[in-house]
């Protein structure tokens, strides 16, 4: 390497830069069906807003770089990595987290299927897996087991529960009229 630490450019403008006077932004969401409003700095991600301010800690921070899928939520029905979404950019959107999937005290069929199939070990990736799977079934593109595996590739499970996760999803997909 031909740079020294001293002249390296990237050490930390982060802390030295002061936010402008217009730094605070107002964000309104439909959050799990309820109106939610917060005042945030521009650099707050949706993931941090959900966990740190809205106290929805079912949403998990795994890698924080869009590689693991633990932070998957539904934004206007679409599965999205909430760690890579600035909260300011989703102002006015509808957001559903794992806490919002059960209806009228009844689990989403995927939540029940994950338990029935033992589709987890440590459970850390599970909320993201289930949100992602809910969207996968709603999208309707997956018909086969291979396609489920491919279209769940954005959710890593370091315990390696993939076989049971796929079993759970394929079962619910069949119940809901998808698959073959």
């Amino acid at each position: 390497m031909n740079t020294s630490i001293a002249d390296h450019p990237t050490s930390d403008r982060a802390d030295s830069r002061s936010p402008g006077s217009d730094a605070d932004l107002s964000v309104s969401l439909q959050l799990n069906g309820q109106p939610y409003q917060a005042t945030i700095e521009p650099w707050v991600t949706l993931l941090d807003l959900l966990r740190e301010r809205a106290d929805l800690t079912g949403v998990k921070k795994g890698c924080d770089h869009g590689q693991c899928g633990a932070c998957t939520v539904l934004i206007d029905g679409q599965r999205i990595n909430s760690c890579l979404k600035l909260a300011a950019s989703v102002d006015g959107c509808s957001v559903t987290t794992i806490e919002g999937l059960a209806q009228d005290g009844r689990l989403d069929p995927l939540q029940q299927a994950f338990m029935d199939h033992d589709a987890f070990q440590c459970g850390y990736c599970t909320p993201g897996q289930i949100c992602s799977a809910r969207a996968l079934i709603n999208e309707g593109h997956a018909k086969t087991r291979d396609e489920v595996r491919e279209l769940m590739s954005g959710n890593l499970c370091r315990c390696g529960a993939y076989t049971n996760i796929t079993d759970a999803i394929v079962e619910v997909m069949a119940q809901e009229g998808g698959g073959r």
Binding site: N2, P42, W43, A88
Partner: protein
Amino acid sequence: MIRFDYARASDVADAVRRGSGAATRFLAGGTNLVDLMKENVERPEHLVDIGRLPLARIEELDGGGLRLGALVTNNQTAYDPRVAARYPLLASAILAGASPQLRNAATNGGNLNQRTRCYYFYDTATACNKREPGSGCGAIGGVTRIHAILGTSEHCIATHPSDMCVALAALEAQVRISGPNGERVVPFADYHRLPGDEPWRDNTLVAGDLVTAIDLPPGDFGRHYTYLKLRDRLSYAFALVSVAVAMRLGADGAIEIVRIALGGVAHKPWRLPEVEGSLQGERPSRPAFSAAAGRLTADAVGRGGNDFKIELARRAVTRALQQAADGTPQSQSDKRVA
């Protein structure tokens, strides 16, 4: 994350005006930019959110082509019935990349403008001429498994990471841009650039330039095509080598036209029109395909860790040409290579 201010562009002209300022970046899907900001690689002071501009439609073009709005997401594009029916090569390439969550956020314009995934570009503890001009290239003499074998310079051996762009190169798409000096249309081959002496410039945009759409010309490549992507995992990994082939066969079975673009091997999708021309009029055959593959990679140079890519690219091109000629495109869910 770094500190910055955030504004939402009211229209394209407003975006161009704001984007022309110093230390400013456009924010669309955010899947690459926000990540790079967390990594301290991108350090804008001003973000201009273009996500709600009216550029999220796919429209018919006179003469049979399609216009893909810059803000249409990668998934919306891949699953659009018109794209799937008329440009299955593009749909296949998009679905070979990233994950469903990322493709739901990532936009077409953003896909073009994503940065390299070179480890040294990401690692601020190392030298990188793309991240910090003049600092050197950590990759040269370093770990080079994912690096370029064609069109490199002594300053940079990074690759462009997109799958979508490899298909767009083969389809000879055109990029529509609004900028400080008005609107212009750039042929896809001229959009990205080789690193040369200015590796920090990934493409030919200038400050304030906003990609508004990608135009697909009519092409009739709905039958003889393939996108063959080879990588270290079965899914959700960048290409070590990928090949997009768009081909048309005449009634006599001879090749009327063929386009071959390579991904994962250079700073931009790699095409050699003279090699494509040499296949014109030929009957599909393994020897003809193998010879073309050899010519496509004749100037390839390895750096040690990526030496294997030269032979891999040669074989991938041969195989992809055969898949296209046979009308048996690579499946993106059943990963067996037939």
